[in-house]
Symmetry: C2
Subunit: 400 residues, 2 copies
């Protein structure tokens, strides 16, 4: 329908232009106003007005003048501002809590991990502890002049985006409402802008803070006590119809295998999850430990037969699940994060062999299996990154 240029219509157009200019600054920074006009097709006057507004919001700032390729006088470039506007990322894991503050340039400015056994703890208690950790990092960030304008929390379970409930059997959470608890626990003045699955946010963490941009389309397997995957297609997260795509932990890898909390038998989690792996190697997984796989790595280094058998079984199961994922999704790359990244040198040969035997003759090869350099920190970074993405998508909404 054609609409006259009413004030409402104009303000919608201005908001869209603001996003357009901010996106161009993010991609091409440092960038002059003249170049921004070329990139966006907007007039220089419009660009200048938008830059002024973004500057007032604390989202962009003047950068050092740069020579324009030697072709003339130095321009007056702008960049995304490394403050005061910032993002708060939070994570609940079975064995730790994490919080970080990143600025809009996606630099991680403050980060804390609290080792804590959350398996079976009451949700309210766990989220209270997460809130205390959040207040610590926010207060530390304030000293650096940073003001988080929103928070996203990563949880190790299926997050139903319609009802806002979380099912995380490994934590003992069943259709748990979390938004209210999180809002109450967050430092004053920081809105909760999202709750998402740990594996989804780990894949986005890799995309924004790690090597994800070089991986093409990728499946990132996040191995913890539970196992999930984040699926990145054309630089975006593939979420499925109800937000629960990527549940690779419940792909059946051994139909005669042990029962799983999901109702199935022989799910990947029951073969390659952290707790199962540790027990199979003869180790105790219940004690909260700063690095729960350190003991397993020591046994592997020492050539312990039981540890090697456990890892071989896990690697083979992982490869079998990857056969399903690769045949169904056809990615460029498979990325391992979480405990599987720590165990990569031992796991990958077994997983790659199983993957190579499954359908690769038809596909003409198998995707490379890579390791996340962010290891266990990917999800909390992805959570902060999602806040940054929200600021870029709606600077007037969050940053103001």
């Amino acid at each position: 329908m054609s609409v006259p240029d009413s004030p409402t219509h104009l303000s919608g157009m201005r908001a869209r232009n603001l996003v357009l200019v901010l996106d161009a600054i993010d991609r091409h920074q440092p960038v002059t106003r003249a170049r921004l006009a070329e990139l966006t097709g907007l007039t220089k006057t419009t660009v200048s007005a938008q830059v002024t507004q973004l500057s007032a919001l604390g989202v962009v700032a003047d950068a050092e003048p740069v020579k324009d390729g030697g072709r003339g006088r130095p321009g007056a470039p702008v960049s995304v501002a490394p403050g005061p506007v910032a993002a708060l990322g939070l994570e609940v894991n079975g064995h730790y809590l994490a919080a970080c503050v990143a600025d809009l340039t996606r630099a991680v400015r403050v980060r804390r991990v609290l080792v804590r056994d959350n398996l079976g703890a009451a949700p309210a208690e766990t989220i209270d502890a997460l809130g205390r950790l959040a207040r610590e990092v926010v207060s530390e960030a304030a000293e650096a002049g940073l003001r988080p304008v929103g928070a996203v929390a990563a949880l190790p379970g299926v997050v139903d985006q319609t009802t806002g409930t979380v099912s995380a059997p490994n934590l003992g959470w069943h259709e748990q409402s979390v938004a209210g608890l999180l809002r109450a626990a967050l430092p004053a003045g920081i809105p909760l802008v999202g709750v998402d699955n740990e594996a989804n946010l780990a894949a986005l963490g890799e995309l924004w803070f790690g090597a994800g941009a070089d991986f093409g389309d990728y499946i990132q397997v996040s191995g913890e006590t539970g196992i999930g995957a984040g699926i990145v297609v054309s630089g975006e997260l593939f979420r499925g119809a109800h937000g629960s795509a990527g549940e690779i932990g419940h792909v059946v890898v051994d139909p005669n295998g042990p029962p799983c909390q999901c109702g199935g038998h022989g799910c990947l989690e029951q073969v390659a999850g952290q707790a199962v792996l540790m027990r199979a190697a003869g180790l105790d997984d219940t004690a909260a430990d700063d690095d729960p796989v350190a003991g397993l790595l020591r046994l592997l280094d020492a050539g312990d037969a039981r540890a090697h058998a456990a890892v071989e079984r896990a690697g083979h199961g992982l490869g079998t699940a990857l056969v399903a994922a690769v045949n169904l999704l056809d990615p460029d790359t498979v990325v391992l994060s979480g405990v599987h990244a720590a165990l990569a040198p031992w796991l990958i040969p077994h997983a790659a062999s199983a993957l190579e035997h499954g359908g690769s003759r038809i596909r003409g090869g198998s995707p490379a299996i890579r390791t996340s350099g962010l290891a266990r920190g990917a999800a909390v970074l992805g959570a902060a990154g999602l806040v940054v993405a929200r600021v870029f998508a709606d600077p007037l909404g969050l940053a103001a």
Copy 2:
């Protein structure tokens, strides 16, 4: 970069407007020029010029005048033209060849199936026979005033869209170049606009000619001698990084199962593919038969224990592969087509039970398993539909 209104720029803009107007006609037909101007935001003069051009191309035509909701004088509506511009769909299956001509309203106007054993036949011979069938339907379509402006072929294998080669182990084709053979076999004047996987085109056939629009995001399993799946997300086919997404036939459902031509063991195809199913039920799958599953259906109706055991095993395997597909992709609906559609009443209970046991407690339920009403005709319709989509995306390119 801002570009002056050069003639090239203007012609690009006109081509975009032409697509915009045609798309609005397709969605809202019959529709008046005045309403088209509202829908597209273009001026009435521009819309009239575009409609005149589309009319000259044979792509749209005047429809019966309709009263505009009683609000005034009758408008002068246009609709997509049911001719002369048309689309040729082709399909090679292990047991038959198919060809059809559809018009741009997606009405199937001519359709022929030739029962023929293509398993192990030389590719050139098979494609020659397909060419003869194509000439028959094109000549029959010409009598109805239809002129196919392009052809798409559905093949039962992995189509590498970069190299244009097809690997279809069940046909005995290995990295076979097919474009040249197809071009030589096609009736004169009909360009080959695409070659695609049978399962992908079956899913698109369901979307455009069947009930796909009601299925939300869906995975359509195409059961033949091989088994593939087409993945439809937000009304578009999900193809993966190299065009081979949806290879559900090589998801491992029984790690100790029989070897598969793909290099794996216990792939879904080895448990639920047509040839395996027939043999397990004690039937001969080698004879080309007008309806190869008719014999199996008779045995099932008669309560034959061996036939029921074969279908139970296939259904359970299908359900196990669907656990992987549903956990990874999170669709609204699973659709069965091909032989699995014919066997649906016997297969679905077993498949649904296996699916229900795999991860459904975490997901909060399982997607419905539906049956394609197009059964074995879906892929050839999807092939014709892809030509129609190409005409709508570039009316000046194909229809002219």
